[in-house]
Symmetry: C2
Subunit: 188 residues, 2 copies
Amino acid sequence: MDIVEFFQRSSGKWFSQRTSHALAFEQAKGGQSELQIELLPQTDPAVIKLCEQYKLDPTLALCGLRVNWDGTTEGEKAKQVGNTVLVPIADPDSPNEGTLLRTLGPGEKVLLAGRYSVGSDETLTLTAESETMYSEERLWFANPNLRFRTSVLKQSGGFSTASFCSEIRKGVTSPPPATTQSIADKKA
Amino acid sequence: MDIVEFFQRSSGKWFSQRTSHALAFEQAKGGQSELQIELLPQTDPAVIKLCEQYKLDPTLALCGLRVNWDGTTEGEKAKQVGNTVLVPIADPDSPNEGTLLRTLGPGEKVLLAGRYSVGSDETLTLTAESETMYSEERLWFANPNLRFRTSVLKQSGGFSTASFCSEIRKGVTSPPPATTQSIADKKA
């Protein structure tokens, strides 16, 4: 499986159940989100614009992914609503890893390119790093309609937060076609 | 990293913070455990005994791992206390995967051999399957003192429960030596 197929399988509407562990305090906090994920072609204006912001040739983009979320966190009144566009650009010599462009998140002021890699176990790993933080996100499918996602955030003082999301596809009408199958898919 | 090194890195005492997601009901439940994990040599009586129970030659065992746990689950009065011994036996032609022997768990009556594999991203995946269930567990290290673990259980009706554990090494005095480093280790 390559990242375009991973993104293709991710497209659709999802219900995401999230738990965050504050590692230093042995505390857990829940949350829920609705995700709407859309695969964008290389020629989509949002893909081209993001490449240009990073001063990269848009023809290098493999595709784009637009992610919209609308969610709540236990104990917080304000909803979390937002969206981002991701664009993968493969390394010339290793098609399963490369650079991941991302639109600015809330409160962010500097564009930060991350890295992606698709492992032999069909897990997609996304990393991002700045002077003050390091984040690592892992995503994989248990079956075409059940996706898992973990993320861990390291700030200057050490690893601070780990989170886990169970994501269930909503209103399955036409799951995206799959050209390869993972072990878990075969069990599904 | 091979499975013996993974088990070696896992040895010691850990505090494990667990959240389980009941997938059909959008419910989460917390829990905590203390883990004590011990690497056993191929010649340990517990390793030899387990191989004999499975009618396998004990010299095929790569090592053994004894895991003791003592924990609680939110909303349940009874503590969960138990232990298990795991023994990996590599496939002849692929050193990074093989059969995983396991002692009988509470309430289990039939020995069930699972499978293990260590992926290119240094994630250890354990699977087990019977006529009525399929389980998949993934374990990886964010750094030598922080381990993550997810598990998903599928029963006859479909995927039922997913859980996530953040595991922090307790009382670090001498973390086990590592011969290779993951990306995350390098950031640690």
